[in-house]
Symmetry: C2
Subunit: 214 residues, 2 copies
């Protein structure tokens, strides 16, 4: 038994689009938002390290401040929910140790038994050839993809936003003091009937131009 029929998956992925105008009167029900947060928590990452934090900005005053730092895009204030996907900056051994401790806790084992696993991660990630913040940013984009696909399955509109000033976001949200840095943003809610982009044909290259079989 397939959990979700192919037609439903495809229909929802076709249905979604980068929503430019949200209906500011429509709020995502609590149960649906909880599912979206669950998707964020469950997003896979390299080594499972979750080098991130998701800042859900609900304070209208903060969102008003973020709008001019986002080229004035209306989604920042009009969407039901706004998520700032932030990386853990300069991920270090202590972050790896926190993850190892969590692994021991969840799996009912000892930190000591995970020592070689820890050393493998430390060896990989503290290698000077690794740009650890670039690595973390890529991980955060997995979460963005997970979030967008999950929203589509639930029939919730979303808009991924790269057009913003990370340094201003960091300052407005106080992220540097927490050790995080804004990487990408997503607005979520419901499309407005006035959004002309909702009915434009989706532009994708032909399958044969982006998928090759070797």
């Amino acid at each position: 038994m397939k959990p979700v029929p192919n037609e439903v998956v495809e229909k929802q992925l076709e249905w979604r689009y980068a929503t430019k105008v949200f209906d500011s009167a429509k709020v995502i029900p609590e149960a649906d938002w909880k599912t979206l947060e669950r998707a964020l928590v469950l997003t896979p990452s390299s080594f499972g390290l979750q080098p991130w934090k998701f800042f859900v900005v609900t304070d209208p005053a903060k969102r008003a401040l973020l709008k001019p730092a986002s080229w004035g895009q209306s989604q920042i204030v009009d969407a039901s929910h706004l998520v700032v996907f932030a990386i853990r900056k300069n991920l270090s051994v202590s972050d790896i140790e926190r993850f190892v401790a969590r692994t021991a806790e969840v799996r009912g084992t000892t930190v000591e038994s995970l020592e070689s696993y820890k050393q493998m991660m430390v060896g990989s990630l503290t290698n000077p050839s690794i740009d650890i913040n670039a690595w973390a940013s890529r991980q955060v984009y997995i979460a963005l993809g997970f979030f967008m696909a999950t929203a589509a399955m639930l029939g919730i509109d979303a808009c991924p936003i790269e057009g913003f000033e990370p340094a201003k976001y960091d300052e407005i949200l106080g992220l540097p003091a927490l050790g995080y840095g804004a990487s990408v943003v997503a607005a979520a809610g419901y499309r407005s009937s006035t959004d002309k982009y909702a009915t434009l044909a989706k532009v994708r290259f032909k399958a044969e131009d982006v998928i090759a079989h070797i």
Copy 2:
């Protein structure tokens, strides 16, 4: 009417895990694979530019060559399907023009009418402060997230793989001559009953540690 019930979405995202041992006898049915390819095609990207190509490696001889370039991981040869997520290297004005031409084609308009849109993209992406390959790599990770979430909805197992040697992948698959570079890999298929990781508790930080409400 919600397209997919919350419980189904959450159950499938809990069900998935980074599959370490695939059942090499089980092949993803053609219809399901087509849905996964559709998810790749439909993945959102910055400006919609799709700076990527997905190489589905079906040739067993090629997969045998990729295995030693992937720390010997068995998923490379045992999984039903293997996808190499590659970035368009050094994305340039001609790539933007190709996308504008496609937009005009799909939306039944002229390239000329999209000139200011094109110039906006050119201005953003040819800015010397942009590391265009790092940008493209982040986009590809959206596709990875989309692919993983979609596979989970269909009840298909997958394993994202960063542990491989991109330069060797590029050489084995002949990607440089095509203008692409391997960024990340995913194996997809069905978990083996012998995979001990299938029954281990999933390790995630507590929701309150990765989600903040501001």
